[in-house]
Symmetry: C2
Subunit: 243 residues, 2 copies
DNA sequence: AGACTTTTAAATGTCAGACAAATAAAATCG
DNA sequence: CGATTTTATTTGTCTGACATTTAAAAGTCT
């Protein structure tokens, strides 16, 4: 692991990259202890604050965790699905909100991915997941629900659908796609009529999942995509030419 | 933005979280300049190194960028697809390699996601993407290719397929799934016979994409998934009971 | 006045040294 | 032998300083 003190990039970034490479390549295995900050600063010929900045960069990516005290130090972290979820969601959310990705593009991606889960979910969904979906449908039907709460419930419903596939890797990959849509969905005003339409589609999906009818789930998700895009389109239309 | 100096968590982590929230919530917009390190340390009542550690955490997530010199400072970064890609890939790779996700689980997720792209890709693939796929197929047929190079070319082929959907959000989401499989795939020994089988499937996929025949693409991806899992199964079998 | 050069100021990057706090292991004592 | 105290190690934080980069201000010459 070497760094070049002449390069224009920050030393702390170079050191972080060197350690990151060692972790990704498997040179440093899970739970391995890194040298102490003092040793690292000796090894890289930099000061301790610089080493610390590098370590904090890695900690921000959940690549390492630190422990104080004797026999403490920085350890290669076994990254868990929970950590990965939250990172993915933050990144995806910012990506969508800051890069002016069109609603249609995001929506298309989301439903394409969800439909990928449909066959597996129809096959494997647990009673618990079905119950979650029914509960969210019930919540969505409550009168006086704010648009934000409606969206949040919608996200919960779809997460249950995705989790139904029983594949943690799929759940992880889709968490970003589904959750990141929420801010975009929040811009939509859901009328009583549109809520009813969405709820009906949700009921159809839940019923089809219970009946293990993958084809209907797929078709209904396609309908839901079309309906959602239509709603967004109407909102955009109304905004452009307000009554 | 407030922090609690009594909490057992690191101050730099708290400060990073406070700023992160401000960015995610939209309180700090893209290209907005954060207060200088000196001002932040005043504001949070901590020292400058502590503030710097917090800023480095955010920089590691591409949430901010820093610029030196007068009128420099830390700016809210517009996160690009490139940044998001690489972060996703590192996270996904580590997640798969460190969490002992079974090959079957990862493989199932990957092909489910790829099949989600198939219809869109059949519809929109550009001549350029078709050419990339043909070129990779050609490379895969070269004799004397190492297993690693074969896998790398396989990844390139599948990325072209995914990019064919013409949806950057899909490409971003799938980059992790496809690339993260590479280390797992590298554990497989590809015989001349198995390479030929895979290449034939790749040809079928490329042909079907060119003919905009989504159904064949989907079916062939399903075949490829079955074949890949069979290969991995054989390798595992042979390792358990070596001849 | 205008274009070029020099100076200055502000900001991040880096360093050195110190102390605080946590923690596990070693040493001590009943 | 068990409980307690001491000690050493390591991260967390602070202070203060200097180096480097960069843009803007000041100055200078034509």
């Amino acid at each position: 692991m070497k760094i070049d003190s002449q390069k224009p990039t920050d030393l702390s970034a170079q050191i972080a990259q060197a350690i990151r490479s060692a972790i990704v390549s498997g040179e440093l295995i899970v739970n391995a202890r890194l040298p102490s900050e003092a040793e690292l600063s000796e090894q890289f010929q930099v000061s301790r604050p610089t080493v610390r900045e590098a370590l904090k960069r890695l900690a921000a990516q959940s690549l390492i965790r630190t422990q104080r005290g004797a026999s403490g130090g920085a350890f290669v972290n076994r990254i868990g699905f929970e950590d990965a979820y939250s990172q993915q969601i933050t990144t995806s959310t910012l990506l969508l909100s800051m890069n002016s990705v069109s609603f249609d593009t995001a929506c298309e991606a989301r439903y394409a991915l969800e439909r990928a889960c449909a066959p597996l979910s129809a096959q494997r969904r647990t009673p618990d997941q079905l119950a979650t979906m029914r509960a969210e449908i019930f919540r969505q039907a409550q009168p006086g629900l704010t648009d934000e709460a409606f969206c949040a419930s919608d996200v919960a419903f779809h997460r249950a659908l995705v989790d139904g596939a029983g594949n943690p890797v799929l759940s992880y990959q889709l968490a970003g796609a589904v959750e990141a849509m929420q801010p975009l969905m929040n811009m939509i005003t859901f009328t009583a009529r549109s809520r009813e339409a969405i709820i009906n589609l949700h009921v159809t999906i839940a019923d089809a999942l219970e009946a293990q009818d993958a084809a209907t789930v797929d078709a209904t998700l396609a309908d839901l995509e079309i309906y959602t895009r239509q709603l967004a389109h109407d909102v955009a239309e109304r905004k452009r030419k307000p009554a």
